[in-house]
Symmetry: D2
Subunit: 289 residues, 4 copies
């Protein structure tokens, strides 16, 4: 029983140390009270001005991307998203254009002076990707792909980390810590809906995660309204909620012709719908862009 006692003391010490570690997380606001502001080719995220990040689900062609990008530019938007490496449930679904897609994004971004956000899915692609993108996105399915997190933490390029499909907020924060612990503090967090029993929406937007993440960390917090809801008719109302609750940016998908999109056609806006979306957000007073 003396041995048992020592074990208990040992365990208690371990727990105490873990608790200290948790308080000492680099992403924690307790450790670093000021907001982290990420600079994307001159457009700041996290500085108090709320931003919109838009673009097609998947990059399909130069024409497709440039059409969306020009529409965005006309409305003063500068942050362009687009998928080149697409993690898909089935190996027989469209997997993205890969490096070709990144090149298209970079070409459009350079022509129109925009910043590019694109998902990377493999540690060995990170080094190549930094030449083409302004933000490395790590997707929901890879939130606990710790090798990828470490690789993204080892480069000098902003990272956008999406919450896993069934990740707790605590697990999300610890995944973020993997990136920052490697030396890269240019990190943004993105709530994108969690998996629940409710099937009226593709996922359930956990809107309360936004103020919690803002309290617990010093990082910018985004809301992806497209993947949260999976429904075009809910993009506008959920974007309003996200801005009202204090999100630093809202992400949504736009495609010149969603009906023929190679992925996620039911949830992307076309260009007129995109313009209406911006109009309505501005009219609500919630978006000052």
């Amino acid at each position: 029983t003396l041995q048992h006692l020592f074990k208990q003391i040992f365990k208690a010490s371990l727990e105490l140390q873990e608790d200290d570690n948790s308080k000492a997380l680099l992403v924690s606001r307790k450790k670093h009270p000021e907001n982290t502001v990420v600079d994307l080719r001159g457009e700041k995220v996290g500085d108090g001005t709320q931003r919109l990040i838009m673009g097609p689900c998947a990059v399909e062609s130069y024409e497709q991307v440039v059409t969306v990008a020009k529409a965005m530019k006309e409305r003063g938007l500068k942050l362009l998203r687009g998928g080149a490496f697409k993690p898909r449930t089935s190996p027989y679904d469209f997997q993205g254009l890969g490096l070709e897609g990144l090149k298209i994004l970079k070409q459009v971004a350079d022509e129109l002076d925009m910043a590019v956000i694109s998902e990377i899915v493999s540690p060995q692609d990170i080094e190549t990707a930094v030449e083409y993108v302004d933000v490395i996105q790590i997707g929901a399915r890879n939130m606990q792909n710790f090798e990828l997190l470490k690789a993204a933490g080892s480069v000098n390029k902003p990272v956008l980390l999406k919450r896993g499909l069934s990740a707790t907020i605590s697990e999300f924060i610890h995944a973020a810590e993997y990136v920052v612990a490697k030396g890269n503090s240019q990190l943004m967090l993105c709530e994108r809906g969690i998996r629940t029993y409710e099937k009226a929406t593709r996922n359930t937007l956990d809107i309360s995660a936004v103020p919690i993440l803002k309290q617990e960390t010093h990082l910018p917090v985004l809301v992806d309204v497209t993947h949260s809801t999976g429904r075009r008719d809910l993009l506008l109302p959920t974007a309003k909620a996200a801005l009202a609750i204090g999100a630093d940016a809202v992400m949504a998908e736009v495609h010149p012709d969603p009906a023929v999109a190679l992925s996620d056609s039911a949830q992307q806006m076309d260009i007129p719908q995109f313009n209406e979306f911006i109009d309505e957000l501005q009219a609500s007073g919630l978006y000052k862009g």
Copy 2:
């Protein structure tokens, strides 16, 4: 196989009929495109002006209720909530003051010209309750207590129906149909968070349910920010999100001294916090009250 064929046709016909039934739901906006507006002693819910419904979790005494009610009155609020019959997980928890609680609520409401919302948990109490309350609330645990729904549908008194802990939106709408099918169309729906794996909040506020319920039904839609989050620090941000997304009213709990409250002490605001809550909502431009 001919018999099998007939069965298939029979089943297909049944499904077709069910589909028609669903389109023909009395609560459906397809059936009744205009918004239902519920009148609570002159205060309308559902008419485009967003309301606040506040008050203590449980009625404990006349002094407790009148203190909260006076603070509300000073800020122009008229809709007073308070629990007299408390459904509690354990039979040994405080179960509410019962009829005595309803009498206290009515006395305060009469003195200050306010309207009272209180939960009723048993069909046989409905008849008594209508003499004391302005709105019969049916709680989350009773959303599919169909006998209670039918009893509430049989009286001439507005009803507030809360979404069940793990009810789908479709089940919620069908539960509402039980009330209206009995003849009572003075019905309001209330999103109050759903049960998920995430434990940072007491429940997960399903904010997307608000625009879906507004589209699918013609009924006023409320958001209970207290039970959704279970955290005092999230009441203000989630109230902003609820107003931004188009909720007809927001519910939240206020107690003169939450620390000694007989139920849910961690999630109720005290009077200064209540005043700050109203100030902040008004400053945000989201609440015009």
Copy 3:
């Protein structure tokens, strides 16, 4: 701050008392180490012999019930279930034959010397029901209909309580306590699947709940394989798992012609399937009946 200190002490005392209450639950095995054995017209549940409870989802006619009951009797089964009051999601679905259904069940049970289990949904029906049924079933949707639990706890008749769709095991145990606290200790618990994101089955059978409930309480624990899975092809394998893990009884639904059943046609066995089910269970060595 002295006042604050007193409040803290007051709260701590409350929590201590709640903790004591929890240890002192009447259903707790700590309080009452021996297994409760429930006697249903001579057939015991909880005595170590594993039982099967079968019958149609809903009572539709005398012929329907007697056909199933005779098939059961031939295989030595004595515990007959059948729904007379059916809680249904939509008010326009078949709601059961009500009292007429209970009379049919009693007639068949008397003719064949079987025991009847049937769900009651309203406190005021309990008194009538005890004249017709041998077990009052309280369904998943009513697990926290505390008025119904109290009414069932006030009569001298065995009760079968089903776990709520999203009830925790702790909430389930506290719901059971409502019945026993009123004086009725002839209580059985039934796991029937919980609501999760997975849609391959109607619900997710939480098989681990069986050993937990057996450890924490002294009550018999049943598994309803029909509602857990909603799939006829999973009834046999899940019944084997339930018996292997130590369930005191397994419930499953049988209908003479499932394709024309007025409810839940996809999940009921017909008579030949029922016989095969019994054959297979016996062949596995898991069912000794």
Copy 4:
């Protein structure tokens, strides 16, 4: 509208093709009716004899592994699991011994003629790993790390794929297809509990997934009772349920001294508990090993 019509036809054709693809999955039993049998150094999984796979959560030292392995060997067990690369929620938790751990496992396995199962977390480690392990395990967090799946599909070494924390059965099957589509058909699937609201267990063991996966695919199906429950007291009852429902193998963790284990101490058995576990399984008649 003619254009619209063509789009609809195009989309319908796409869906039809996807449906065909789904029927044509390489892992589908429709495509390949016979059971896949995986051979692990002479011990077969999937041939109708049910196996046990055991060992420590994480490899800590040669002494630790050899102690467990000898105990296993004495009971006739040959399949040794142990973690060398540990994916951990926090970057500050013990991350495993890495390659050193694999070497320890191989040494013990060679000395005692056992087969080694160990998790690999990065595509670039696969090539090294095949020299040390007999089975490449892909963990729950990496179930949709498609680059890792493809890498594991490209080597000639059996793979054990664990179900993701909130993966549907359909997603699990499609993840398996990624491996087999690359040419490696020596694949085993492992149910290890899903994330739900219930917190009495670490995860919720979805026991029904076993017969569904056996029906839908021709692959061996395993159940990891340790991670499903996270509770030592539930390992035996859930192992019984897994064997009764037809799992091809059961996985569970054993540690010479769980109290000082560097990970998951609360859920591992010590050696005497391991022996009792085997004794009880054999006594139940469910385990013939």
